[in-house]
Symmetry: none
Subunit: 200 residues, 4 copies
DNA sequence: TATTAAACGAGACGGTACGTCGAGTCTTTAT
DNA sequence: ATAAAGACTCGACGTACCGTCTCGTTTAATA
């Protein structure tokens, strides 16, 4: 039982990996250098040393280039491994996430992606799987916590995700201050309060 | 001591309030009708029946028109009055806020404003006072709660604001589901847990 | 009794005569310099120092620019005055015409116009009035000759025009040799033979 | 005595006659169907079911395809046989020529070829042999007439050709009316006047 | 009351980028 | 070994808006 198509055996030249990477790199760098508004398909193509058509052939929108560039340039690796306790795992998840946006170029790209999703309905839908993957990662942790009975009463798992990612994005979109470890502690205090000392 | 200039007593016709309102209305309506991306200064001017220059004379950017239109079209009135308890006041604040974005046209405008703030550094700064006014409103409540000693250990007042507005904006920007009363309850459970039954 | 509209008193800036002339000049010169194929609207606009839109606003096609440029750059003045005899008038008409295409830049423009008329049906119709005006000029002469009874039996006035302009254009389009006075004599011999000496 | 080259006996597979004819047919038909401007190499290749490269391999320009297609699709056969008198032979030549452009597809192709010759200097030179062959055919007739002493005083043989082909092309390029037998009579009256009745 | 300066509608202007098309070249695979 | 399929770079297309700049016209304070 194979899901794969048996390769219709297409003739002709294959897609140029060289061009693909040049375009992704150009787009990624340009966002930080000149700002998303000033990034144009023409500019990307020029910097990548390829024709505009090669960009348009493979991506519908400059934001789609960035979305793919993000995967190439900032391989997202956030710990979701079983650490024994919800609190520990959540702490790690938060710290990893907060670290990620300190990777050069990541923040402006994320801002641009979220902005474009508001403006271009088509891209909104293409961004969602990316956002959902992040939620799914967190869900691994909360689901495990639920099984263990560690989840405090209050928000359900979806609402926890809204709180965590809401905090994360709001800081990035609406303020100038990145979330720090101090913020992670506050989130932990709210979502996974430490076992009270006096509890017996 | 007044900062205001003593009015140099300019000659000539005054700014046309008719045009101002026509432009604000046109911009506000166009966002919902055609989407922010498709809103152009030319389109606003055409719909408002005025020249482009009249728009450019008073606003720097189409987002600035919307920011002012929002104040006119959806007068923001969120309760911050003293209700005796933090939990009650926060509940009211949340419900009022969540209701606001159900006003027709408000959500797409807010999405557009936040998007433009990511893309246009100048506008980002002009949007901040708007966001800060919202934070200040919430701060009235948390400050009062702090005085009363009602604030649970954990997040400080700024972090509370990040959590509340983060939740609010994340739902609007990244998901398709508006926050509801159920969500308000979850936020309350996290930020202002009810007095535990057994406590006395 | 005036046929003229009472001028609806249009508001706003008038068409820029500066741009118009810069565009006509640029187009006219470029044809000779780089060849009609290499003339582009972009190139014309760049050389004229104006935006492409300013060209597109007033002309449908690069050939239309040239057609107007021809009128400006090579004011066509071919004698059709009454000289007493058909033969004299036709001789003058031919010599004036043949001289015209020796004006720098005229020949390549005429070639381009006729070529475009074959390729772009819309322009073909816009070129026709120009061609018809040339025929009308010749017709002044042949009609006068007909009145005088000077027209030899054989081709009618339209066919005379076909012969004259056919000769003219064929030389320009299909050969490399311009028509000369010698050719004018040959045409005269055919169309307006001198009164045979022995005839009486 | 054959004009054909003795085949240099090249190695490897020979040129595919199937593709050649498919391309010529596609080009010839497309000109009438969509107009020369809209004919593209890509379109020809697509219609012929072959790759673009196969077209480029054998022809430099779309006009060259048409020039060859014309020879295949409308084998040009104009009578130049000795008929005893200049007038008779010229009449036949004119009628045959005028008939040719009534063959479906011939006129638009001829218009396109002449147009391209104005626009593409390279093609102009490749078209000339075609035009010269037509002149050579007429020259057979005029040369015979000259030998017989039938040529009237006035235009020399080259000028006669200019007049005949000029008339022919001018009608095709600049007017909408094909030359007819009536026109042929007018040309005859001018170039080969019938022996005057009263001549003794 | 006449003057004059500002704000207005209209819209032409020099620009920039769009997204598309086709040119002509090059690469891969199947026949 | 050929040729189809088609990806590539390149350049121009014609369009849409940008933000600026005239144009008259209208309005209101000033002289």
């Amino acid at each position: 039982m194979t899901d794969e198509l048996p390769e219709p055996a297409k003739r002709g030249p294959k897609r140029s990996e060289t061009s693909r990477l040049a375009i992704l790199t150009a787009a990624y760098e340009l966002v930080s250098e000149v700002g998303y508004r000033q990034v144009t398909i023409e500019g990307i193509a020029a910097r990548a040393g390829c024709g505009k058509q090669t960009v348009y052939r493979w991506w519908a929108h400059k934001a789609d280039v960035l979305l793919e560039a993000l995967a190439v340039k900032a391989d997202i690796r956030v710990s979701t491994e079983d650490q024994g306790s919800y609190r520990t795992e959540l702490a790690r998840f938060l710290n990893d996430s907060f670290e990620l946006i300190r990777v050069p170029g990541v923040e402006p790209v994320l801002q641009a992606l979220m902005a474009e999703a508001q403006i271009e309905p088509g891209f909104r839908e293409r961004l969602r799987p990316f956002l959902d993957r992040r939620r799914a990662a967190l869900r691994l942790i909360t689901a495990r916590a639920a099984e263990r009975g560690e989840l405090p009463v209050g928000p359900d798992q979806d609402q926890i995700a809204d709180l965590v990612f809401g905090f994360f994005w709001y800081r990035m979109l609406a303020t100038d201050s990145h979330p720090t470890n101090v913020d992670a502690d506050a989130l932990l205090a709210v979502l996974a309060p430490p076992p009270s000392k006096g509890s017996r």
